[in-house]
């Protein structure tokens, strides 16, 4: 066992955390984790649940002549009315998205590739195989991806680009999940009954307008928009009623368990309370913290798992729950510890939620089940500090439970309550890897650039790991992201459109075939010219990606609507419009994945080709093509060239220019619903999975080596001059022109002892904030502990690490990823 005490007697790295009480500890131990490892579920025994897919397929077959949005509304209604509901022993919060705790649902309506993959896995029970094949057969012709492929003529270049697998994630039309931020507040305050009342009022107004229909036809006019509006509103009502029914079914189940089954007297009493709560909410407004958490969980699962497959859990958690926690404490229903217990119970619901997704995505989020990131801290809409008892209780629950998910985003601002910041520090120093910390002012300013009011901008939460968006009525409807892999683009520049290291294909045109033509890299006279070559190739990719994305978004608005999500937005009800088709605040971003390596590579070229003239460009290219085989001395030289993260202007200025290009490579792209494409360099865990897809680079890296993590973290082990030097390097990049920019930093836990350790870190963070750096997150773990965990994983189940924008159990990471995490430079504080 790896347990040890700090000087102030806080146990760190113990194996099961410190849940508030025996009930929470038992719940944690009996939870089925849905984490993935190397693209497979890490826990043995995870199986597919047929309920959701079976019901959705049946409803869609039964409704083939009906408007699409109504088909989706009916499917959501029937799934919530018919799918098996589950309650685990001792649970406080009800709701699971499959028919048993070890099962996960699948969503055949979306990605054909994902369901093809399912057929050949051990996750399907033998008795279900035939039915799975029938469902796959139906959706292979009717899924959203199938509709895209039937109707959109992909160019040969686009097809090659996607087939090569070289440019980041698959096209948006293949992986088809969204990351919405529902307006939870509307349901908490009005209840679904309030929303249904609004929907019915709009339906009546719209129906009245039907009186003009005949007149419109007589005049040869177009069919008025009332028809679509009425259909949308019908679908909203169906979905809302489905969720009400789902809650009532949980109420009945709780009551039956309490009254007819052998349970402890304590849980029996609690089950009867749960039965009362589920009969009340989300139909009616919530009054207590427990009711509010239950509303959140039903609504979240309803939207993100039952209606369709979504990723993420965006919300401003502390502010959302603060009034309910306050009310419950004032009424004497609970005390502070009772609130912590409820937040602990809520955490466990995230851990057990699972879903079937493409292997590619599971590999990319190895160690987690999906990207649950909830946001706390920052300022309120009026500009005052938002840290509260609710923030503190949430952080205490996370510290106690020691689970990888949900991860937190803490919005750092200089006036944040120090008591809360100390709790943030406690989580960080004990190795949880969260909260991840974002600069509140930088993100608020960015959202003002998106067209938000100051109050909207101050309401922001992270949508997934990094991207900030307002919450509430202006919450995000649809995830609008396309990623690109700059190291691969550098290879295209080096090899004139070829991808010799991974696909072996000629993916992009030669330099001479561009309009106007580009000269070859061998003729380049500066890194500025190489950056410009990259910009033009990235811009070409961006146009292909965003054209397919725009078309995909358009098709989704016609065929893949989200009525239940729409119910939460006043704008959707007032306009009678499904949320998939429009944005209140357009928020498009393009993510250069593994962005920093190119900066170091360009510094290598600057040093050894342009300045020292030790090698020619052709020699460098030949060495990289050979993966340095036969060029070992050259590899050593390139490895020794200046590296980012050491406050060295020689390389930092190159990186700064490169990131300026990243900020603008897609400036001339026109998104479907307005706005512009912002750039958000990041890595998720693709620094590991892209390693084998990316050839040798002129930073001395070989084919297969990990790439740089984060958006701007120094390449593994290359930052040698301490944490302040890293901050100085990072601050030279203009963060204000990017949607976000993540720095991962590994810290020595031994430098975090007592009050002195806190204040050293606090001052470091205040300096970080003043530098205008967007985002930082920490790994704080002894190398010795990590090595122990590699040797004896069963004894280190709760060793949590920060992988990327999410935390994960170290034992669930691949060995490759584990080694990459250990290789990060360990900095000392103070």
């Amino acid at each position: 066992m790896s347990q040890r005490l700090t000087t102030n007697n806080v146990m760190i790295h113990d194996d099961f955390g410190h849940p508030s009480n025996a009930r929470m500890a038992k719940l944690k131990q009996t939870t089925w984790y849905k984490h993935s490892r190397s693209g497979e579920f890490a826990e043995e025994g995870i199986k597919i649940c047929m309920d959701r897919a079976r019901i959705a397929t049946r409803v869609h077959k039964e409704t083939e002549l009906e408007p699409e949005v109504i088909r989706h509304g009916k499917a959501t209604n029937r799934i919530l009315t018919e799918a098996t509901v589950v309650i685990r022993e001792d649970e406080m919060i009800a709701g699971y998205n499959a028919s048993a705790p070890h099962r996960v649902p699948w969503t055949p309506e979306a990605s054909t590739f994902a369901i093809f993959e399912l057929q050949d896995t051990p996750y399907v029970d033998e008795k279900d195989q035939e039915e799975v094949e029938e469902i796959v057969e139906y959706w292979s012709k009717n899924s959203a991806q199938a509709r895209f492929e039937k109707s959109y003529p992909l160019s040969e270049e686009a097809t090659n680009m996607y087939r090569s697998g070289a440019f980041g994630e698959p096209g948006a039309w293949i992986w088809l999940y969204d990351s919405p931020s529902p307006n939870y507040q509307a349901i908490l305050e009005e209840g679904l009954n309030g929303r249904i009342e609004k929907i019915e009022k709009r339906m009546a107004e719209t129906y009245e307008a039907f009186g003009d229909l005949g007149k419109g036809y007589d005049k040869g006019g177009e069919l008025p928009g009332y028809v679509d509006q009425y259909h949308n509103l019908q679908a909203f009502k169906l979905a809302a009623e489905g969720l009400k029914t789902w809650a009532i079914r949980h109420s009945r189940l709780s009551k039956h368990i309490a009254e007819d089954f052998d349970v402890t007297p304590e849980w029996k009493e609690d089950l009867l309370e749960l039965a009362r709560i589920c009969r009340k909410v989300p139909a009616e407004p919530a009054d207590s913290l427990r009711e509010a958490l239950q509303v959140h969980w039903f609504l979240y699962l309803g939207i993100a798992a039952m209606e369709r497959d979504c990723c993420g859990a965006a919300m401003k958690y502390d502010e959302l729950m603060e009034p309910y926690m306050k009310r419950s404490i004032e009424k004497g229903e609970i005390d502070y510890d009772g609130a912590v217990e409820l937040f602990e119970a809520h955490r466990l619901k995230f851990i057990e939620k699972g879903r079937w997704q493409m292997r590619y995505i599971r590999e990319g989020t190895s160690g987690s089940n999906e990207l649950f990131i909830v946001t706390i801290g920052g300022v309120r809409p009026d500009g005052t500090d938002a840290c509260s008892d609710s923030t503190n209780a949430i952080l205490d629950a996370a510290f106690n439970m020691r689970t990888a998910e949900p991860s937190f985003m803490f919005r750092w601002h200089p006036e944040a309550n120090v008591k809360t910041v100390k709790k943030v520090y406690n989580c960080v120093r004990t190795g949880l890897g969260y909260p991840s910390i974002k600069n509140d002012a930088v993100n608020i300013n960015c959202l003002l650039e998106h067209g938000c009011t100051i109050e909207e901008a101050r309401s922001w939460a992270a949508i997934l790991c990094m991207s900030a968006h307002p919450t509430g009525e202006k919450g995000q409807h649809v995830r609008c992201v396309q990623t690109i892999q700059p190291p691969k683009v550098l290879e295209m520049v080096m090899y004139d459109g070829e991808d010799p290291s991974f696909s072996g294909m000629t993916v992009q045109p030669k330099n001479s075939e561009f309009d106007p033509p580009m000269k070859s890299i061998a003729e380049a006279e500066s890194v500025d010219e190489i950056i410009e070559m990259m910009r033009r190739r990235m811009n070409r990719i961006a146009h292909i990606q965003w054209t397919t994305h725009n078309y995909n978004r358009y098709l989704k608005s016609l065929y893949y609507q989200q009525p239940l999500l729409s119910v939460t937005f006043d704008g959707c009800i007032e306009r009678g419009q499904d949320c998939v088709g429009f944005d209140e605040i357009p928020d498009y971003w393009g993510g250069p994945l593994t962005a920093l390596d190119v900066g170091d590579a360009l510094a290598g070229i600057q040093k050894l080709v342009f300045d020292d003239k030790k090698y020619t460009m052709q020699q460098m290219i030949a060495a990289c093509r050979a993966d340095w085989d036969g060029f070992e001395e050259m590899k050593t030289d390139f490895l020794a060239a200046p590296k980012f993260g050491n406050d060295d202007d020689y390389v930092d200025e190159i990186v700064s220019k490169l990131y300026h290009m990243y900020a603008h490579y897609a400036d001339d792209v026109v998104p479907l619903t307005g706005g512009r494409v912002w750039s958000l360099p990041q890595s998720i865990s693709y620094y590991a999975t892209y390693g084998p897809r990316t050839g040798a680079l002129p930073n001395g890296r070989s084919l297969g080596d990990p790439l740089a993590d984060g958006g701007i973290s120094p390449w593994l082990g290359c930052d040698k001059k301490g944490p302040t030097a890293v901050l100085n390097s990072v601050s030279k990049v203009n963060h204000s022109e990017l949607k976000g920019l993540l720095l991962n930093m590994r810290l020595d836990p031994n430098s975090f002892e007592g009050e002195k350790g806190f204040w050293s870190w606090y001052n470091f963070m205040q300096a970080w904030e003043k530098m205008g750096i967007d985002h930082i997150q920490y790994n704080c773990m002894d190398t010795e502990v990590l090595r122990d965990a590699q040797m004896e994983p069963d004894k280190h189940e709760d060793v949590i690490v920060r992988v990327a924008g999410y935390s994960a159990r170290f034992i669930d990471c691949t060995r490759f990823m584990q080694d990459a995490l250990i290789s990060r430079t360990e900095h000392s504080m103070g």
Binding site: K26, T30, S99, L253, H256
Partner: protein, 52 residues
């Protein structure tokens, strides 16, 4: 592996006032044990009331 053992099964008619009420529609409630612990499920079924 997740061994699923049904410990107990009971049927409850859905109350008339509930939104999913239909004549002959029941909640089939099962207590199940797997390798990690106990849980309960409820699935809606149609059955002959004379079976009660």
């Amino acid at each position: 592996m997740a061994e699923e053992n049904v410990v107990k099964e009971k049927f409850y008619p859905i109350p008339e006032g509930d939104p999913d009420y239909e004549p002959g529609k029941y909640d089939c409630v099962r207590e199940i044990e797997d390798t990690k612990g106990r849980y309960w499920t409820s699935t809606t079924v149609f059955r002959d009331p004379e079976n009660d």
